[in-house]
Subunit: 217 residues, 3 copies
């Protein structure tokens, strides 16, 4: 098992966080490009999507001002991701798979870091899972609400989305006391990616409640 | 008048709060079932609806982390309400009255507890009424926004909704210095229920501003 | 240059803030009147629009309870603006220009005060611009989301809106260390108004990214 000094993994977590910011910023910017927002609208939607998950995490765990305001690199990453989305959106948007990749990456990274934040302030298991899930899906919900779309988290009925975030948060919690911090975060994030991939293949799915009128006769 | 020790009424308030959580969770879960969300989507919408009002109350009164994260019983109640809504939604959803009952119960309980939270941190009368109203209607607004419905609070033009919450918060404030705490909360909540019931009967209603073009000639 | 004692400019800032509250409350109330909300719906939408920007500013800079709850004059101003919008909406709504004026005034005042709040807690330049922008456009976004409209900030593609707020926040930051506080706020706000006016005339505009399929052949 790799041994890392506290400074090293803190720096590592920071870079992983920035990657999540970048990923969500691109996902927000790409949606904005498709909706034909102007340059600044793209930047606003990109940034709000990027920092939304972390802001919800910090608000719930009582950290003010939120991390993305205390550390300017977060907003630079959000800005960079938004501009990348604006500049290359043309080519990226053609590939739905690309958008999905960035969305999943952001979901996975924030679910794990939201869980860690909740663990640090001593929440119980349900609180950790809730904080991780909402941190993961929060940015996307804010993105979809502002773009006036039905939040993807809800109508992705055929695929695991919030469920994957919850499972990732739970795995992060399980790993937390057993392995170094960055491995707990990475492990939780990988579970999210794995579950998303499996559900896209149709290997796992969640039940949908049918009302009597919709039942096959 | 019933005399209760501080411990007893604190425990009582806790149970009343949990009932409000359960009620709102069911109302969110039932809407999610009608929208054909999957199991986890139902749980997410149920939980977010349930803790939304309290989270707004705690955010406004500066309590972090919010109560629902510090005390795990809240999330268990939200989870239970969501699962009840998923499991029995079929039978409950047929009765619009049932959904309305749970919605009103949550509205009433959160309006009163939001008012109490605002009183405790020393807000003025308008602040108490505002905090109570937003705590009451906040969960429902979040529910409707995520489900991409027009928030009921706004288009229920024929019925009192937010007005009832405001009146309940005001009555809670009036009762606060006169009766034990739990009675102030209960009294405020009952006023909300009463006003909702009266307005459904058509006994009270609010004016709607007509633009000149809509006026009967 | 006018010299003002600290007490004087603090009082001045307070009045300017109240003007912004009044302006946004009227803009929210007018939209609610057009949507045929009842009296209380108009008041709720007016108040939420009015305090939304400031609440976001305070939440991001860690001020709890938010200013509008600590100082009752804010809610009175929001209430007054909402009732003015309800009472005179008929006449005001006919003039789209009036609604735009109040919207711009609120945008300008909150962008500058959001920037100042961020400067005070020591944020970097990007953080100041972000906080100013979101404080400026936050109230309007909340207004449009609740009224179930596409947020104006995003689809105003032909006009600067959020961009104007960002520029105003940036100018406030530039002026902050050079002139008295109230002049920095006023200067930032004037830049917002100026940019909005220029963009309405078509003198400045932002690029929109076109997808290949939309390109003229």
């Amino acid at each position: 098992m790799v041994e890392l000094s506290p400074v090293t993994w803190q720096a590592g977590l920071h870079w992983v966080d920035l990657l999540g910011i970048l990923a969500f910023a691109m996902s927000g910017a790409l949606l904005a490009v498709r909706k034909k927002f102007d340059l600044f609208g793209v930047v606003v939607l990109g940034c709000v999507t990027a920092v939304g998950g972390g802001a919800i995490r910090d608000a719930m765990t009582g950290q003010t001002p939120p991390l993305f305001l205390r550390d300017e690199t977060y907003l630079w990453a959000a800005l960079a991701g938004s501009l990348l989305g604006f500049g290359f959106g043309e080519r990226l948007a053609r590939f739905e798979r690309t958008m999905r990749f960035f969305d999943t990456a952001g979901l996975a990274l924030f679910a794990a870091s939201g869980a860690l934040g909740a663990i640090k302030i001593g929440l119980g298991p349900l609180g950790v899972i809730f904080a991780g899930t909402i941190s993961g899906v929060g940015g996307g919900i804010v993105r979809d609400l502002i773009a006036n779309e039905v939040p993807e988290v809800m109508y992705r009925r055929e695929q695991l989305y919030a469920t994957a975030a919850a499972a990732g948060a739970w795995v992060t919690l399980l790993l937390y006391s057993r392995v170094p911090l960055w491995q707990a975060q990475l492990g939780g994030a990988l579970v999210v990616v794995l579950l998303r991939w499996m559900s896209r293949r149709g290997w796992v799915r969640l039940p949908v409640r049918r009302l009597p009128s919709e039942r096959p006769k």
